[in-house]
């Protein structure tokens, strides 16, 4: 009789497919309680199904190996069986490891995004409903904008949006009615009387020598009732008087403008870019077409950026990402300790932005400075922020030590270091594998706790070894508990989910023991020794699994 090769790979793929279907069905049944939007439903269910595979993968690998060996007709004992199962087990170990390391983090992140966006949609919709009921239509409209950004086809949104838009139109119409000026019921006599009052006041002002007032009042009189020639004459005469008595207002205006331009230029030449920027901002509002003003507004803004930054950059960075609290500590070779702490931080392409930052440096000349806003580009941190539209609003640093001054400090670490520390100080499970593998030394250098990172790295390194161990153990069990007659394929696949479920709790316990070992090694060994020791431990576990499997199977390793 021809010897059948154990179809470990085929059984494993079959079980993974079953796990996907079961995971999808469970997600389908639970979507009603999850609050996920209909728009995300299929994607969310798919993510859940894929994550179910990730959760059940260890048990599936064990059961697949056992099922393959249970129906195998190999007669050369455990050694032959192990050899046959080893090649597919190695391939599966690689596939499962890649799946865990590269695919699962993305799936988890996407699933979380679907859930958070759905929650935001529901909260915003509820907020809009409440606002509509209380009559705060602007709030309702704002909430609906948030909903529209997520799903503008949702029926609840469409229905509520129609109501809110209708209410807004009605409210605007009512407001327009309320604010519309009453129709004038004035007669020509009324106009004449009011114009005459201004005319008389203008005459009095002219007699008092107040020529500006006289011209202004005469103009007002003429605007109200224009049929009186003596009024028009008074307007012309007072204007002529104004022209005759001094330089024209236009000339005066030009002179003042020139004086301010000169003042701004002087400030610019002195390096007081903030004052220069303030002056040219004011002038730009008055004379937007002036080439000199436009040129020096730009140049003073450029100069200002060497000693300050605009708050709009900070706002833009924080609108995209908010890294939360941040802290970095570095001990320099000279023994001085530099610490930077901030209540919030945001990483942008061009710089890193901080809010409520405190920077301190110990040593011969200790420095401690705090600032409400800070911007780190390269290794230079600017501590002064300016509102571009209102340059009078400036946020400046406060030095708490005698030494130290200025609006910029040179740090012993740079923007890339800060970004790295930010990633490494988050939840270890969220750290990309490449950064985790290369960043542990940096984490230690910047005063971060390296133990959780080492434990996380240990966990991820264990995936291929665990897959191999499970395949070997499953092979041992399959051979040892082989039935008299091989079970049918249908019976095998029907019972597989039960076996997977039964294997989960014991495997969880074994995984806990593995985590304990990683924790112990990360605590008691130096980081340099940790990785070789951990790999050695995993290799020893594989060898022990081989011997245990052989023992279970009832044959010694030949």
């Amino acid at each position: 009789m021809a010897e059948h090769k154990p179809a470990y790979m085929a059984v494993a793929i079959g079980l993974f497919a079953m796990a996907f279907v079961i995971g999808f069905l469970i997600a389908l049944a639970s979507i009603g309680h999850s609050g996920v939007l209909f728009r995300f439903a299929v994607s969310w269910e798919t993510m859940n199904a894929a994550l179910a595979i990730a959760g059940w993968a260890p048990a599936i690998l064990l059961v697949a190996s056992a099922l393959a060996m249970e129906s195998s007709e190999a007669h050369d004992g455990f050694t032959g069986a192990a050899a046959q199962v080893l090649a597919p087990a190695l391939i599966l170990a690689a596939v499962v490891s890649i799946f865990y390391l590269l695919v699962v983090p993305g799936l988890t992140e996407r699933k979380a995004r679907y859930e958070s966006q759905s929650q935001l949609f529901v909260d915003s919709l509820r907020g809009a409903e409440d606002a509509l009921q209380t009559g705060t239509l602007e709030v309702a409209a704002r909430n609906l904008l948030a909903c529209a950004a997520i799903d503008r086809l949702d029926e609840r949104y469409v229905e509520l949006n129609e109501k809110v838009q209708k209410s807004l139109v009605e409210a605007r119409a009512a407001k327009a009615d309320r604010e519309a000026p009453p129709e004038p019921q004035r007669t020509e006599e009324d106009d004449w009387a009011e114009a005459n009052r201004f005319y008389l006041e203008a005459l009095k002002a002219r007699a008092d020598g107040r020529l500006f007032d006289a011209h202004y009042l005469a103009k007002r009189s003429a605007a109200i009732y224009s049929k009186r020639p003596e009024v028009r004459r008074l307007v012309n005469e007072t204007w002529s008087d104004l022209q005759r008595l001094g330089p024209s207002a236009e000339q005066k205006g030009e002179a003042a403008l020139y004086k301010r331009k000169l003042e701004g230029y002087t400030r610019f030449q002195e390096g007081d870019y903030l004052e220069a920027y303030r002056i040219y901002s004011e002038l730009a509002a008055e004379a937007s077409g002036d080439v000199d003003i436009a040129t020096y507004l730009k140049r003073s803004a450029e100069g200002l950026l060497t000693i300050a930054f605009f708050t709009e950059e900070d706002m833009r960075a924080f609108s995209r990402t908010d890294g939360g609290p941040f802290k970095i500590t570095l001990t320099s070779p000279d023994g001085s300790i530099s610490t930077l702490a901030a209540s919030r931080m945001a990483i942008a392409e061009e710089a890193v932005y901080f809010r409520n930052v405190i920077y301190s440096r110990s040593g011969a000349e200790p420095v401690r400075v705090r600032a409400p806003f800070a911007r780190l580009h390269g290794d230079t941190m600017l501590l002064r922020a300016v509102d571009r539209d209102h340059p009078d609003m400036v946020w400046e640093p406060t030095y708490e030590t005698a030494s130290g001054s200025g609006f910029a400090v040179r740090l012993p670490f740079n923007q890339e270091d800060v970004a790295r520390v930010h990633w490494l100080s988050g939840a270890p499970s969220d750290i990309p594998i490449t950064l985790l593998a290369t960043g542990i030394a940096d984490a230690g250098r910047f005063g971060l706790e390296t133990r959780p990172l080492l434990i996380e790295l240990a966990g991820r390194m264990a995936y291929p070894f665990a897959a191999l161990m499970l395949a070997l153990l499953g092979a041992g069990l399959g051979i040892r508990f082989k039935p008299v007659a091989p079970p049918s394929t249908r019976a095998k696949y029907l019972t597989a989910p039960i076996l997977v479920a039964l294997a989960m709790a014991p495997l969880q316990m074994i995984a806990d023991v593995g985590r304990l070992a990683a924790r112990a090694m990360a605590t008691w060994l130096s980081p340099a020794l940790f990785l070789p020791a951990w790999v050695g431990f995993l290799a020893a576990c594989v060898v022990i699994s081989l011997f245990v499997s052989a023992r279970i199977a009832g044959r010694s390793v030949r």
């Binding site: 056992a66 249970e70 069990l477 040892r480 039935p483 008299v484 039960i498 039964l502 294997a503 304990l516």
Partner: protein
């Protein structure tokens, strides 16, 4: 000759049980002591070692007896003989462990906070029952041991798929420990109070464990396969 074979089988089971019991107890002690050392420093090892070694014994008995089920399946074709061997072995081990705590490990310490929270009720119960009056000692440890041995039927669910038993056993061992810890809890007492019986917790636990044992034996008689009593296939 038959007697010699039976004696040999019995010795094999006893030997297997003792080896597994010792290995599991040492492994659990190593794991829980390491956990204690990580949480409280290396000095904690000296303080908790004796206590952990002693309190791991109920779990070790459960693990050892469950692994012996498979050997008994192969060595005994009679349920009665199998149960007799397993129950005597389990009761003897529990009694031995209890006596060890009672006479040797009196000052092993009582701070069990380093143990896993799910196992803590059993560890507390074991340390308490080991120094309890002899009647409570016998009833408490006896019912625990017998309940464990009664799970034998769970490894013989299917003649056609012996693999099923291999997967059921580890989960069943964990479930047995969990079930026993439930019997040690307040809600289990409340059941008896509802029935108008005001019994001490030792007795309510023993009663519930005894009922479980009966249920499992009944399950064996009605649904489980007979042990094969023949060497393994393949």
């Amino acid at each position: 000759m038959v007697q010699f074979c039976q004696m040999k089988s019995l010795l094999a089971v006893v030997f297997r049980f003792l080896i597994i019991f010792i290995v599991v107890d040492l492994c659990l002690t190593l794991a829980w002591t390491t956990s204690a050392a990580l949480d409280h420093g290396l000095d904690a090892i000296r303080l908790v070692l004796g206590m952990v070694l002693a309190s791991a014994m109920p779990a070790s008995i459960t693990a050892a007896i469950f692994i012996c089920f498979f050997l008994v399946n192969r060595l005994f074709s009679s349920r009665l003989a199998g149960y007799a061997v397993l129950m005597i072995l389990s009761v003897a081990a529990a009694a031995g462990a209890g006596l060890l705590v009672r006479f040797v490990c009196v000052d092993c310490g009582s701070d069990l906070s380093t143990l896993p929270s799910l196992y803590m009720p059993i560890a507390q119960w074991f340390m308490r029952i080991s120094v309890a009056p002899w009647t409570d000692f016998a009833i408490g440890l006896g019912t625990f041991a017998v309940m464990n041995a009664a799970c034998w039927s769970l490894t013989r669910l299917s003649r056609n798929r012996p693999l099923f038993g291999a997967f059921v056993a580890p989960s069943a061992a964990l479930a047995a420990l969990y079930l026993f810890s439930m019997y040690l809890s307040g809600p289990a007492d409340a059941v008896f109070k509802l029935a108008g019986l005001d019994l001490p917790r030792t007795m309510t636990t023993a009663a519930l464990a005894a009922c479980t044992t009966l249920g499992l034996v009944l399950f064996d008689a009605l649904f489980a396969m007979k042990p094969t009593g023949v060497p393994r296939h393949g």
